[in-house]
């Protein structure tokens, strides 16, 4: 892929609530200059990204299949309307769907496994690794054991 002007790059950055969103916010300098759409599960997080494109999907975990389906449907709509070049997620379910659908439309996708997973990849990280362009673990020993890349951490 040729290096394009950054202002033409469209990034979709997705995370669920709590620690995943806090970690995604710590990655923001990497998105500088690009057009970013943030997707998460709590409307009040909009205050963290003033003036930016901010979308909300229904909250869900693997414990609630119906809400998961609603989340997937909304995420599908967001991905096909935003048409990102790049999808980046720190977890969990919203990132899984964003990467699966992003791949369908030809986006390059990156999963940054949460720093909470200090002994093995997260469940969603394990499920997405066959689909994501790159998977990063924030722990060197986990990256080595799982055969994924390590490149620093949110800390």
């Amino acid at each position: 892929m040729t290096l394009e002007n950054r202002s033409d790059r469209r990034i979709l950055a997705a995370a669920s609530g709590g620690g995943h969103w806090v970690q995604l916010m710590r990655l923001r300098p990497a998105f500088e200059g690009a057009r970013v759409t943030y997707v998460t599960v709590r409307p009040t997080y909009a205050e963290d990204v003033p003036g930016e494109d901010f979308r909300v999907v229904p909250d869900a975990t693997l414990w609630n299949k119906f809400r998961l389906l609603l989340m997937a449907a909304k995420m599908f709509w967001i991905v096909i309307s935003v048409r990102p070049d790049v999808v980046i997620s720190t977890g969990a379910a919203p990132g899984y769907f964003a990467i699966r659908f992003g791949k369908w439309i030809g986006a390059k996708t990156c999963w940054v496994d949460s720093i909470a997973n200090a002994e093995q990849l997260s469940m969603s990280g394990n499920q997405i690794r066959a689909h994501a362009t790159i998977v990063l673990s924030q722990w060197p020993h986990v990256a080595e054991a799982e055969g994924v890349e390590h490149a620093g951490s949110v800390l």
Partner: protein, 160 residues
């Protein structure tokens, strides 16, 4: 002020009950707890089930120390404001979370300055007694490590 928080997703009564018990024996200590969707009603400290992110940040900024589940949202926010934090991990076997990642997080992060771990509720009272000795950690920057930022910039630019 001690700020107690369990995140917004699930209750964590094992922690809240232990802190509430300690609070009853220490009426002069000011505490405030965010307890999540819980049936338990603390008797010895003011509490709320949920709070908006802006209030959460204000509570962290205004407290002297946090007591929390070992969730990264709580830990990272504490470190961003340079506040010491005592964490207790949730256990999957007790349906407090889906897997035991908080135990791993606790073990890995316990060596960092300003982070103290109580592995279960039996350690809470003793650790609370010694909160004043907790070292105030240096404020961490609001962004990820330069290595991770550079890696992701490269990914955004090249798709690889």
């Amino acid at each position: 002020m001690i700020f107690v928080t369990v995140g917004y997703q699930m209750a964590f009564d094992r922690l809240i009950e232990a802190v509430d018990l300690w609070a009853g024996a220490h009426p002069d200590t000011a505490l405030f707890a965010q307890i999540g969707p819980s049936e338990f009603e603390p008797a010895n400290m003011p509490y709320t089930e949920f709070m908006e992110p802006s209030e959460f940040k204000e509570r962290v900024e205004g407290c002297s120390v946090l007591v929390a589940h070992a969730g990264m949202g709580s830990i990272l926010t504490a470190l961003q404001y340079g506040k010491p934090i005592l964490v207790m991990p949730r256990h999957a076997a007790r349906n407090e979370t889906r897997n035991d990642h908080q135990i791993a997080t606790s073990k890995q992060l316990a060596t960092r300055p300003g982070i103290e771990v109580a592995m279960d509720e039996s350690e809470i009272a003793k650790k609370l007694d010694h909160l004043a000795n907790l070292e105030r950690p240096p404020k961490i920057s609001t962004t990820a490590s330069p290595e991770l930022i550079e890696r992701l910039k490269r990914f955004v630019d090249t798709g690889r």
